[in-house]
Amino acid sequence: MYKIIRKKELVSQIYLMDIEAPRVAKNANPGQFVIVKVDEVGERIPLTICDYHREEGTVTIVFQTLGMSTKKLAALEEGDYIRDFVGPLGNPSEVVMDSVEHLAGKKIVFVAGGVGTAPVYPQVKMLKEKGIDVDVIIGTKSKSTLIFEEEFNQVAKNLYVCTDDGSYGFQGLVTDRLKKLMEEEGKAYDLCVAIGPMIMMKFVSRLTASYKLKTIVSLNPIMVDGTGMCGACRVTVGSEVKFACVDGPEFDAHLIDFDEAMRRQSMFKTAEGKKAIQMEQAAVHAEGELCELGELQK
């Protein structure tokens, strides 16, 4: 059981939690994730490690409530326990773990979207600790959905906020802002790191490909175990099939088949709410079955 030490609603429907998990905190690095199973009947959902405190033994997660599992998690309070919390999973971010000599002089831009803003933070923070300054672009719906602005002001050299509705910062998409930086504001980058919704990563990737700007994305496909056991998380990278949980989650964006990745991500969309499937099932099966399954559940 893993205790919730701190809980904060950052903006509507986006929550931050510090979880007591000393073993995870001790070995966590930026770019890695955990798998959380809220209770006995819960599903295993992956969430990126957004910060960690080795001494206190806590790991920070930031999540957006979407369906059953994230809502259940959000319903817990400080002092409550999560049944399972396992990690750190996946590989640490290669960029961030690189040597200072290698990184020195590199011009890096991070592009963050929505709840994906939070996982960018430990990466930028660690680079700052290594003396590497980077630019950060954040895209969000509106001022009221912006998260981590203060934190980024502490660690990023330049922070560019974009909102869809123009209520704050630049009005428009992160790709528009990135393009503007490169075309009109004289920025030249050696590397781009994009983390956010698959669709955002796809379009950032498409843009940077046209500039031949090397780009890393952190993929978030559907996962079950997160240890390489099931293959649910497989993605096509170049001509190879990779398991995102063990080979990633970060990959060279220009090699990713984003359309396939997006299709696979929506696999259970029509089905979430197993209820929906079960209704469908009821039509297929004899009535007896539902009673039998009902029996089993007692």
């Binding site: 295993r44 396992v86 079950v224 056991m229 293959g231 649910a232 063990v246 297929v284 399954l293």
Partner: protein, 466 residues
């Protein structure tokens, strides 16, 4: 002597395909005693040689026959830490029962079902034997809680060691909980109970620890004072075919399908994990795992079909599994091989292109090599495909532990005598060493390593010889 074994009652196929309850009811007392009296109590019992953990089979059968159930349970416990599991899933026809002398003229004594009966009796009665040596305060780490790890941990605990099992998943049991379905091996009643007996010996279990990520073998030995480590991490990495369309929605590994169904209990409406409810499911492969996947699909309301490139004779699954699968309506498309998976405009599976095969000369495996027959391409209508092509060991531990060597297939190399890897103090066994094999072989590897670890601790002067 009766030549034929006492029949085992089973759920009717028409009924059982509508639920996940155990197919076989096992024996009741009367039936068990009757079957036990068919045993000839051989002076030189061949059956024992067929059992990888050498259970004293005639002894436990005699005790059962004479009504001394506690003694029978103790006899099993001397050799096996998981008799209720083994009685259910061992390939007995190739092991103990395959060697039984009665099998020459009649049908072999049903050793597996008798073993199950004794173990189930003890669990129901709450009879247990937790005899163990006093603690020697030596810490040993066991990685993985499958049959290999559980057995190694149990044997070491009985010798007085302070054992901690580190398990990557949220439940202990390995394949017993995530792979083998509920209808063959009930999780709460059998697996959980049998694991509980082991933990009651004083074994500590830490779930949610992935060795190689959460903590390294080196950390365990240097920082946490574990004097020896046993790696029983199994062979959980699934293989795919590499054919066109394989990443379509609705194509998954048997591991994914079975994990969702068993470990995550996706077949129950009170559990949150979704599972694909295809109406026409094709399983590629014909091993035990493929049978389990197909029979699970049937229970989830699908028409299930196995596609296998060789003929019936080469089917690797146990005869009983194939028989049960066919009874439940699983269709077998033999001498058939997938070429491509067809995908609809939304990215979901809509069919599978297959080709007919014929068998040629024997290949390296000694089996006749399947060859494609020209002009036999055809489409099988389906909406889900489950790949059951075998698994290999996960490279995580070997790649993060200096000094451990593996072979080409990623299997950890050990000294067959004592289970030690190429790194002193680190032992391994089970599927991580052999590639996917059986529960009882994993258990016997766990036993051997426990002895190997003990011998090494004695040699180092850390514990006195017993």
């Amino acid at each position: 002597m009766k030549l034929d074994r006492v029949p085992v009652r089973e759920q009717e196929p028409a009924k059982r395909i509508l639920n996940f309850q155990e197919v076989s009811y096992g024996y009741n007392q009367e039936e068990a005693v009757e079957e036990a009296s068919r045993c000839l109590q051989c002076k030189n019992p061949k059956c024992v040689g067929g059992c990888p953990v050498a259970i004293d089979i005639p002894k436990f059968i005699r005790e059962l026959r004479d009504g001394d159930m506690k003694a029978a349970r103790d006899t099993l416990g001397k050799s096996s830490n998981l008799p209720a599991v083994c009685g259910r899933v061992c390939p007995q026809e190739e092991q103990c029962e395959g060697k039984c002398i009665v099998g020459i003229r009649g049908t072999a004594v049903n050793i597996g079902k008798l073993e199950r009966y004794v173990a189930d009796w003890a669990m129901a009665e709450g009879y247990r034997n937790t005899e163990k040596a006093p603690s020697n305060h030596i810490k040993v780490a066991v990685i993985g809680s499958g049959p290999a790890g559980l057995t190694c941990a149990g044997d070491l605990a009985k010798l007085g060691y302070e054992v901690t099992i580190f398990e990557a998943l949220h439940e202990p049991g390995g394949v017993l909980v995530y792979g083998i379905p509920e209808f063959r091996l009930p999780k709460e009643k059998v697996v959980r109970e049998e694991i509980k007996l082991l933990l009651d010996l004083g074994v500590t279990l830490e779930t949610n620890v992935i060795v190689g990520r959460t903590v390294s073998v080196e950390n365990l030995m240097k920082d946490e004072d574990f004097k020896a480590v046993f790696i029983g991490s199994g062979a959980g990495l699934p293989m795919f075919m590499g054919i066109k369309g394989e990443n379509a929605n609705g194509v998954m590994s048997a591991n994914e399908y079975l994990t969702r169904a068993n470990l995550m209990k996706a077949f129950r409406s009170d559990y949150d994990t979704p599972i694909s409810h295809g109406k026409k499911v094709v399983v590629v492969g014909a091993g035990n795992v493929a049978m389990d996947a197909a029979r699970t699909a049937v229970r989830l309301g699908a028409e299930a079909r196995l596609v296998y490139r060789r003929s019936e004779k080469e089917i690797p699954a146990r005869a009983e599994e194939v028989h049960h699968a066919v009874e439940e309506g699983v269709i077998l498309n033999l001498l058939t091989n997938p070429k491509e998976i067809l995908v609809d405009e939304k990215g979901f599976v809509k069919g599978m292109v297959c080709v007919k095969m014929t068998l040629g000369e024997p290949d390296a495996s000694g089996r006749r090599k399947p060859l494609e027959m020209e002009g036999t391409e055809h489409v099988i209508d389906c909406d889900s495909v489950i790949m059951s092509l075998g698994t290999s060991p996960n490279p995580l531990i070997a790649s993060t532990t200096p000094g451990i060597e593996t072979n080409r297939r990623g299997c950890i190399l050990i000294n067959e005598e004592n289970g030690e890897t190429t790194s002193t103090g680190i032992f391994a066994g089970g599927d991580a060493v052999t590639g996917s094999a059986t529960v009882i072989l994993a258990m016997s590897a766990g036993k051997k390593a426990a002895q190997g670890i003990h011998a090494e601790m004695v040699k180092k002067g850390l514990v006195p010889e017993v």
